[in-house]
C-alpha cells in the first residue's frame, strides 16, 4: 500500500514544479555546507594542488573519426580503471563528434541517422557507453544496427549477448553466443555460452563446460580473467562459496588492474562474512560511490569505529549525485537504503526500478530482500516469475523461493 507513494509523489510534485526543483530544494542545505569552505590563494607557486591519476588525451586536435573513437575507447578504459564517471562523459562527447549522425536530447540518445557500413566502430563504442549507463535498450538497438550489416562483428555480437544477459534474456543471449564460435576465440565463445545456459536451467553443465575450457588456459590475460569471473559467479550460485572466492581471486591475479573484478570479490566476501578481507581489498580502490558504500557495509559488519563516518560519507556522496541530477545505480542505492539506512520501503522502490532495467541474479536477490524487509512480499513477484520462466538456479534464490509464503 505504501510502496506506491514515492512514484506518485514524484509525479504529483512534478505537476506543479519546474524540472529539477526537488534536487534544487535538496541542494539548499548542501550548498550551505559547501559554503563553509573558503577559496584561497596558495602561498608557494610550487605547491602541488592535485596529482592527476592519469592523463586523458586532449581531444581538441583530434579530427578523424577513427582517432576520436580510439580516444573515446581509451577514456572508457580509463573510467573503468579509475571509477571516474567523467571519462564516460568525455567518451560520449568524443563519440558525438565521431558520429555526427548520433544525437542526444533530454538525455535520450538516438543513432537513427547512422549507417553501419560507415560508422560500425563508432557505433560499437557508442553502444558500450550506452550499456555502461544501463541504457540497455538503446545499446541493443545500436548493436543490432551494426550486426544487421556485419554479422561477423564479434565485438558487437559479444556485447549484445552480454547486454541481453544483463536484461534477463538468456535465450536471446545464447543465440548470439553460439554465433561467436565461428568468429571469436574458443574461451570467449565458451564463457559466453556457459553464462547463457547457466541461466536456463543448466547451471551444472555450464560450470563443467567452462571449467574444462579454463583448464586449457593456465597463463592469464584479460580473457581468462573474464572467464574466471563468470565461473566464480556461477560457483557462488551453486553455493560453492570458497571455490567461487578462490576463482575470483585467481581472476584478479590474471588481470591486476581490473577494478570490477575486485568489486566482484568484495561483494562475494561481504555476502559470506568476509568483511575484513573485503575491507583490505577496498583500501586499494578509489573513492567512488560504489566503493564508499561497500566500505561502510564492511565497517558496519565489523562494528568498526569508522563505520559511522563511512555511513555519513556515503550519504554525502548520494546527496551530491542527487543534487546534480545524476542517475543512480539503483541496485547499489537499494542496498545502501536497506542495510545502511534501514529504510526498506525506499530500498524496495529502488530495487523495483532497478529490476525494470537490469535482470541479473543479483538484481533478483536485491528485489526479494527489499520486498521482504518492507513487508511487501508480492512486490518480488516479477523476480520469482523470472526465476520460474527461465529455470534460473541460485542457492540464495532457491532458499528464498522455498521460504516464500
Amino acid at each position: 500500500m505504501t510502496t506506491c507513494c514515492r512514484p506518485r509523489l514524484e509525479r504529483s510534485v512534478r505537476g506543479v514544479r519546474t524540472a529539477a526543483t526537488l534536487p534544487v530544494l535538496f541542494a539548499v542545505l548542501f550548498v550551505a555546507v559547501d559554503a563553509n569552505a573558503e577559496p584561497y590563494r596558495p602561498e608557494r607557486t610550487d605547491q602541488v594542488l592535485v596529482r592527476l591519476p592519469s592523463s586523458s588525451v586532449r581531444s581538441a586536435s583530434l579530427q578523424s573519426p577513427d582517432a576520436l573513437v580510439d580516444a573515446a575507447m581509451a577514456e572508457m578504459a580509463l573510467g573503468r580503471r579509475t571509477l571516474d564517471e567523467r571519462h564516460f562523459g568525455r567518451a560520449e562527447a568524443l563519440l558525438l563528434r565521431a558520429l555526427p549522425c548520433a544525437s542526444r536530447a533530454d538525455d535520450r540518445r538516438r543513432v537513427d541517422g547512422c549507417r553501419a557500413d560507415v560508422h560500425a566502430r563508432g557505433l560499437v563504442a557508442y553502444a558500450d557507453m550506452l550499456q555502461h549507463g544501463h541504457d540497455f535498450e538503446a545499446a541493443d538497438q545500436t548493436l543490432t544496427l551494426v550486426l544487421n550489416h556485419e554479422e561477423a562483428n564479434a565485438q558487437a555480437r559479444l556485447m549484445r549477448a552480454s547486454i541481453r544477459l544483463a536484461s534477463g534474456e538468456p535465450r536471446a543471449a545464447l543465440s548470439d553466443c553460439t554465433k561467436l564460435i565461428a568468429t571469436a576465440d574458443t574461451l570467449v565463445a565458451t564463457a559466453c555460452i556457459a553464462q547463457s545456459i547457466s541461466l536456463s536451467g543448466r547451471l551444472n553443465d555450464a560450470v563443467e563446460l567452462l571449467t574444462k575450457e579454463i583448464e586449457k588456459h593456465q597463463s592469464g590475460d584479460e580473457r581468462l580473467a573474464w572467464a574466471l569471473a563468470i565461473l566464480a559467479e556461477m560457483l557462488e550460485r551453486q553455493g560453492q562459496y570458497q571455490a567461487a572466492l578462490a576463482t575470483v581471486e585467481r581472476a584478479i591475479r590474471a588481470d591486476l588492474d581490473n577494478v570490477a573484478l575486485r568489486l566482484q570479490a568484495i561483494d562475494l566476501l561481504l555476502r559470506q562474512q568476509g568483511a575484513q578481507r573485503a575491507m583490505d581489498l577496498l583500501a586499494t580502490l578509489p573513492d567512488a560511490e560504489s566503493v564508499i558504500l561497500r566500505r561502510a557495509l564492511a565497517a558496519q559488519a565489523l562494528k568498526a569505529p569508522q563505520a559511522a563516518e563511512l555511513h555519513r560519507q556515503w550519504q554525502r556522496v548520494v546527496a551530491e549525485q542527487e543534487r546534480l541530477g545524476i542517475p543512480a545505480h539503483e541496485r547499489d542505492r537499494a542496498l545502501g537504503e536497506l542495510l545502511l539506512m534501514n529504510r526498506p520501503a525506499q530500498a524496495l522502490v529502488l530495487a523495483s526500478a532497478n529490476w525494470q532495467k537490469s535482470r541479473e541474479v543479483e538484481d533478483a536477490r536485491m528485489l526479494i530482500r527489499a520486498a521482504r524487509a518492507a513487508g511487501q512480499v508480492r512486490a518480488a513477484t516479477p523476480a520469482f516469475d523470472w526465476i520460474r520462466a527461465f529455470g534460473v538456479e541460485d542457492a540464495w534464490l532457491a532458499a528464498a523461493e522455498a521460504d516464500k509464503p
Binding site: 514515492r6 577559496p39 562527447a93
Partner: protein, 359 residues
C-alpha cells in the same frame, strides 16, 4: 575484430554496472547586490587540465605556479563560454582574481570577477563550459540576492537558466497536500480502518429515527488525525524509527481488531480511543511517503501540506460514503446485520493483509 578490441570489451563486460564517481561538476556563483554582480566560477582542476591544459611540464601534477601561468587561458575559456544577461541586455564579465578551493573532495580553480548588468529585468545565464568536452558534465548555478538563493543544475541538453525560482510556499503546500490526498485514497488499509470505526456512529434510536453521533464521528476523525500526525512528525524527523515491516503488519492487524471491536456492544464508546491508539501506528505508515523529503528545505511545509492532504482525503471519503450509510442506517437491519457483516468482511480482508505481509 582485433584481439585488442575484444580484450578491451571483456573488461567492460565483467561489470556493466555504472560503478563510478559522480562525474565532473562546475559551480557558477553569482552574488546580485546593489553594487552590481560579483561572480565566481569553480572548475575541477582535472577538467581545467582537459579543457585548457595546465600541466605544462607533463609530470602528472598541477602546481599553483602552473595554474597561475594559465590564468589568462582559463579566464578566456570561461569568459567565452559563459553568458549573462538581464532584461535581454548582455552583461560583460571581468575576471580579477584566481583562487583554489576544496569541494566534495576535489580541488577546484576559482575565477572571481564582476559583471556589469542592468539593475532590473529577467535574469538569464547560459553556459557552454565543458559540455562539448564532457557530455555528462553538470554545472550548478547559484544566484544570491539578499536572503534569496536560486539554484539550478545545467546539463549538456539544458544549458540555459532563466531565473526560475523555488516553488513558493502555497505551491509547495498544494503539491504535498495533493500527495497526502492521493496517499490516503490509495491506501485501502487506512481507509478500511477509518470507515470501520465510523460505522457504529450511525445508529437508529429506539423510536426508529436516525441518531447520528456527530460528536462521536468528529471525535473519531480527530483522534485518528491527532495520533497519526504525531507519529508522522516523529518518524520523518527521525526521532522515532520503527521497522517498516512491523508497521505494515501492525496496520493490517489494526484493521482486524477495529473490525472485530464493532461486534462488541460497547463499540460506539471505544471508537475514539481505538482511533487514537491505532492512529499512532498508521502515522508511521504515512511516514514512508515523506521519508525521501526528510532533508528538503521545505520540510515543515511538506509535512504540513501532506497532513492537510491526508485530512482532506479522509473527509472526502467520509463525505462520499455518508449518503449511503445515512440511507441504510435507518433500516432495522443496520445495527443487527449490516454493521456485523461489513465488519466481518473487513476483518477477513485485514487478516488477509496480515498474512500477506508476514514474510
Amino acid at each position: 575484430m582485433t584481439a585488442r578490441a575484444i580484450l578491451t570489451l571483456l573488461i567492460a563486460l565483467i561489470s556493466p554496472a555504472a560503478l563510478a564517481h559522480s562525474g565532473s561538476a562546475s559551480y557558477v556563483r553569482v552574488l546580485d547586490s546593489s553594487d552590481g554582480f560579483s561572480i565566481a566560477v569553480s572548475l575541477d582542476l582535472r577538467d581545467v587540465e582537459y579543457a585548457v591544459g595546465v600541466d605544462l611540464n607533463r609530470d602528472q601534477q598541477i602546481t599553483w605556479g602552473e595554474l597561475l601561468a594559465q590564468q589568462a587561458a582559463l579566464e578566456s575559456y570561461v569568459g567565452a563560454r559563459l553568458q549573462l544577461s538581464r532584461g535581454g541586455v548582455s552583461c560583460s564579465i571581468e575576471f580579477k582574481q584566481l583562487k583554489v578551493d576544496q569541494l566534495n573532495g576535489a580541488t577546484y580553480a576559482v575565477t572571481e570577477g564582476s559583471s556589469a548588468c542592468p539593475a532590473h529585468g529577467a535574469l538569464e545565464l547560459r553556459s557552454n563550459m565543458m559540455f562539448d568536452l564532457d557530455a555528462g558534465h553538470r554545472s550548478v548555478v547559484e544566484w544570491t540576492h539578499g536572503d534569496q538563493v536560486m539554484l539550478a543544475v545545467l546539463t549538456e541538453s539544458r544549458r540555459e537558466w532563466h531565473g526560475e525560482t523555488e516553488l513558493g510556499f502555497a505551491a509547495q503546500l498544494l503539491a504535498f497536500a495533493l500527495e497526502g490526498m492521493l496517499h490516503i485514497w490509495s491506501g485501502l488499509d487506512h481507509l478500511a480502518f477509518l470507515l470501520i470505526l465510523l460505522l457504529p456512529a450511525f445508529i437508529v434510536n429506539a423510536r426508529g429515527a436516525r441518531n447520528i453521533a456527530w460528536r462521536n464521528l468528529l471525535g473519531i476523525i480527530t483522534a485518528f488525525t491527532v495520533a497519526h500526525s504525531l507519529t508522522l512528525a516523529l518518524a520523518v524527523t527521525g526521532v522515532v524509527s520503527v521497522s517498516a515491516m512491523a508497521v505494515e503488519i501492525g496496520i493490517a492487524a489494526s484493521v482486524v481488531i477495529a473490525a472485530l471491536t464493532n461486534l462488541l456492544p460497547q463499540a460506539r464508546s471505544i471508537g475514539m480511543p481505538t482511533a487514537f491508539a491505532f492512529g499512532l501506528l498508521h502515522g508511521f505508515g504515512f511516514a514512508s511517503a515523506l521519508d525521501n523529503l526528510g532533508t528538503a528545505s521545505s520540510f515543515a511545509t511538506a509535512l504540513a501540506g501532506f497532513n492537510l492532504g491526508v485530512e482532506m482525503g479522509q473527509l472526502a471519503v467520509v463525505a462520499a460514503v455518508f449518503p449511503l450509510v445515512y440511507w441504510i442506517c435507518a433500516r432495522p437491519c443496520y445495527a443487527a446485520r449490516v454493521v456485523p457483516a461489513v465488519s466481518l468482511l473487513v476483518a477477513t480482508l485485514g487478516a488477509f493483509w496480515v498474512w500477506e505481509r508476514v514474510p
